[in-house]
Amino acid sequence: MTLVQLSRVTPGVSDWFFQSLSSPFIAAAGDSRLERLPIIARDLLTSRLPEPWRWWLNSLLAILVVLFGFAILFALLTLVERKVLGRVQNRPGPNRTGLPFTKLRLFGLGQPLADGIKMLTKEDIVPRSADKLLHFLAPVALLAFSILTFAVLPFGRNLVPVELDAGILYFFAAGAGTELAVFMAGWASRNKYSLLAAMRALAQLISYELPLLLSFVPVIMMAGTLSTTGVVEAQAGWKFGFIPHWHVLTPWGFAAFVIFMVSALAESNRSPFDLPEAESELIAGHLTEYSGFKYALFFMAEYFGMCALSAMAVTLFLGGWRAPLPFLEIVPSYVWFALKLFALLFGFIWIRATFPRLRIDQLTRFAWKFLVPMALINLGTAAFWSLTCNWSGPLQLARWAIALALVAGPFVVMGRKLSRDYAPRTYRYA
């Protein structure tokens, strides 16, 4: 009886949930047919259905599209990463696995499939002394948390799975769960290397969470909203008709972008911050006791996290799905989003191919002594930028000069300080 009453007295509560998860992919008039292609395709499938069913099916479709899209991206990314790494090391990379049972090689496009089959058919080993439940839950939780973050990303014009008022906060709240999953994996394996790696991962993730969160605060300050679509809206338009109003093209925005990307590297455990998986020290880190499909899930979650953070960087700093030049707007917005996403992902791979791994003390010191102060100073720079937004003429130049000095000055000073601690070394016995 009380339950019935509860739902009767609070009709809004039940509605709120549906309202806040605003119907995904709202159609908008005025866009080109190509631009509205996903929405048209969606409507073709679901327009005949009655209203509540339609909402559910629309949501389901959105989820499926996002999941499958990123799963395919993950598969391709593993191949592209290996090919790029190979090319950087002057070798062709995987190039033999093509269509099965044929001689077609297709530049190794069959490699992800082969890897998948291999992973699925491997034995799933659980150590006898492991905490069975947590050992099982860890990869599942990790993947779930990384997939959750995709919900608020604007993949194109009107292509947001869930329009949330506090979307960016949601993104990072969902991302916070990954640390927990890493810890669970390390602890449940009952392996000292796993546990050490988990502790390292926690230290690293906590250290870099701070600059990650601080780096996009200026963006929120300038855009005046926590919603992802709002941030993209704030980057609309072109200065002089050809310089887009992207945040990365301002002094504070550029600094924030760099800080964000460095922190994103660390957050997604990518080289050169892949200490938790440093195989020369910790075997495979928290993945040591995982095999087969669970290991594949970890791998997938790592790539999903990388994709999600890159997509967030695109949204926050690179204008989201907006075209760089006005006449390029005939290309659909989701293509632009994908292109920017690929560019950032390529950057991840490029960095992995270049830099050696950091030591744990260098890693945390870099976060606490360089990135966090830089992010805080950058916040001040953004405040200055926001206060002087109506300066014009020569004052505009002065605004740029002061903002650049505010970014470059601390960078040079702190960079000197940081590199002096490490720069040219003398070895006594070498």
Partner: protein, 105 residues
């Protein structure tokens, strides 16, 4: 007897409060005592939200603001409390609360 949604939420929060209280009183492990206190704080936050949502609010955002501040304070409390746990452990090599009876370091 019929309960309004507000009452249901309050019952939920008081139950959570009591779970925290029992945990804090019954366990001798410092960390668990601290976590019990955290639970009690969370129960109080639930009350704020419940009153904000179902009660007559003086201003639309007061309850939410209160919880935001409360979460911040709770985070600070957790950080200091667990630092204290580490300090106690370093001092007496265990974290049993009964043995932490000395005031002198």
């Amino acid at each position: 007897m019929s309960l309004s949604p507000l009452q249901l939420c309050l019952l939920f929060s008081s139950a959570l409060f009591c779970v925290g209280l029992i945990g804090a009183l019954a366990r001798s492990n410092t960390i668990l005592v601290l976590l019990g206190v955290e639970l009690m704080l969370n129960a109080a936050n639930i009350n704020f939200i419940a009153f904000w949502r179902f009660g007559p609010a003086p201003s639309p955002a007061t309850g939410v603001m209160f919880v935001v501040f409360s979460i911040a304070v709770a985070a600070a409390e957790a950080a200091v409390g667990l630092a204290l746990v580490i300090a106690i452990y370093r001092h007496q090599k265990n974290i049993r609360l009964q043995e932490a009876v000395r005031l002198k370091g």
